[in-house]
Symmetry: C2
Subunit: 346 residues, 2 copies
């Protein structure tokens, strides 16, 4: 790269001090600087194609205007949609974002936090993986500005923006019951993360409140490592036997994707053979032949609020803000009123 032009270069060219150049280019002390000198400085800066060295500026001001974002996997549409919203909101405040994917792995997440902190990001937005509670507690202890998204640790008093996952699933199950379904299965991920437990809790609570006895084989907890085969086996199980489930709820977009794919291959008729609700809204859902009832997270709200809260925290460091948002149940044909099995063969 060509030697970059610095304040000093401009100063020499104009015949003033770097102090003055700095003031002018930062629009400071405008009333105390001679108009013609200021203009000359601007002209030369323009002419030399000057570009602030943000690194040098940051070293001095101790502010990088950079945010660190740690998601589970930027290739997952849930993460990348959030990333886009955060990017835009950050940009609105002249912040830039560095991202990293943790792959739900606490070692990776720890390494990412370390890397980002070395780079002096002004704050972090983190979707923490299972097992990251201690790292988060560390951040807190060292007064690093951060806000959690999507997941959080109820034992830790930190800022976060998350969904009321229990209520979201509760509403979905309630809806299924309203529509006449009684044997309702849940396919979810094995995880000790709070948000996943909440989804399970919402399911159980809804069944209970409607006086449906829960059969434990209706609840399938899948290992994330061998997602596909396990989802297929779980689905087979749920549909086997004399009392197959009549409705199925998938608790996130990955599970839903593989689940729906498998149902497709089984040539099951939705909702006649099986009603379906999916957690998360994805473009993919639209291509399924039956429009799918799904739980829509307010992604824009999550991303924007997280960014704003983080920026506030960066300014005055002691505030903790916790935001719980409500999901929206988007009702489509995959949960139409149940038709008795004896009749539906039309």
């Amino acid at each position: 790269m060509n030697k970059k032009v610095s304040l000093k270069d401009i100063a020499q060219r104009v015949g003033v001090s770097t102090t003055l150049v700095s003031y002018v280019l930062n629009n400071q002390k405008e009333n105390r600087i001679r108009k013609d000198v200021a203009q000359k400085i601007r002209d030369v800066a323009q002419e030399l194609n000057y570009r602030t060295n943000q690194i040098a500026k940051s070293l001095k001001t101790k502010k990088t205007f950079t945010l660190g974002l740690i998601v589970a996997d930027i290739a997952n549409p849930f993460s990348s949609s959030l990333a886009r919203i955060i990017e835009d909101e950050a940009d609105r405040h002249n912040y830039t974002v560095i991202f990293g994917s943790s792959d739900e792995n606490p070692q990776k997440s720890r390494k990412l936090i370390d890397t980002l902190l070395k780079r002096q990001v002004d704050g972090l937005i983190i979707a923490p993986p299972d097992g990251a509670a201690s790292q988060i507690a560390d951040l807190q202890r060292h007064h690093v500005p951060f806000v959690l998204i999507d997941r959080y640790f109820p034992d830790l008093k930190t800022s976060y923006v998350a969904l009321d996952n229990c209520a979201a699933v509760y509403a979905a199950v309630d809806h299924l019951i309203d529509r006449g379904y009684r044997r309702i299965g849940l396919v979810t991920l094995q995880s000790s993360l709070y948000h996943m437990n909440e989804r399970k809790r919402g399911y159980l609570a809804a069944l209970k409140d409607r006086n449906l006895t829960f059969h434990k084989h209706w609840l399938k907890e899948i290992s994330p490592d061998i997602l596909k085969p396990e989802i297929e086996r779980a689905t087979d199980d749920l549909l086997a036997g004399p009392q197959p489930v009549e409705a199925l709820l998938f608790t996130n977009n990955t599970v839903a994707l593989h689940g729906l794919k498998y149902l497709q291959s089984l040539r099951l008729r939705i909702p006649d053979d099986l009603a379906i609700v999916c957690f998360d809204e994805t473009d993919a859902l639209d291509l399924f032949y039956t429009p799918i009832t799904h739980i829509r997270q307010p992604l824009r709200e999550i991303g924007q609020q997280a960014t704003r809260i983080l920026l506030e925290t960066i300014d005055k460091t002691n505030k903790i803000t916790q935001v719980n948002l409500q999901a929206e149940l988007v009702v489509r044909e995959s949960t139409s009123q149940m038709v008795s099995k004896l009749v539906h063969g039309r």
Copy 2:
């Protein structure tokens, strides 16, 4: 945040110079430094939880170990999949990545380049929007290390990693003709970007080489701003009249998504009523009731090669590398052998 600990803090605590601390922590001059002193320094660094200030280091070394990535839209799975691959490859070389979305807008792309350069990224990976040729030429003139991905400007001698788009579409159309289809439509985006033109060119060349006369109403060029209604109208057009098309090719993932959605709503039978080929592979495709023949880009290759080429360029600045990769046609049921219209009503 707590006052961060610096080399000086460690030096004072141990009673040595910062010089020594710097050498030890960077594993330099190891043979010249007393083992016990080195150990003591390491211990104290550990104890104080020291973390290098990468900003200060960068200012001195003029290297940030940061890459800038400009994609069209990080929320689009094509971009985010590439981002993930680039992230991993960069990480393998201890680089971190800052990203930004240009929304196919040259003003945004220019602003992003400016922001990233101010932040002293060591190099850029860019999927340039239509109209960005001059900015790219500027980068080149100022010897900024960069490599283009997905798109490039044939008039500019720059590094890039891209697909042989013409061959990709040619092969797809050829395949359709092999399978008995004669009236083949193309739905693509209005764009003067080379890669999009190449897709069109591949389509026309394939028809020509197989002696099929091209009817210009088979080629629909859609405005990206009003994608959905235009795709619907284009599809209607192509299917109307006494000579509707028998097969349709969508030239990218966004067009494909909207196109398939619309076909779905029309309750068209694929491939009986219409054969389909989509450009780009997405999870979404798997949910369509007929498995879709599609053009698969070697995303891993694109992302990894782009990253590696950029890192090479950063080291020795004068090299230009241009990589053209071949797509793979993944044949599925949406392009099964054509059945004569008179017979297919079984």
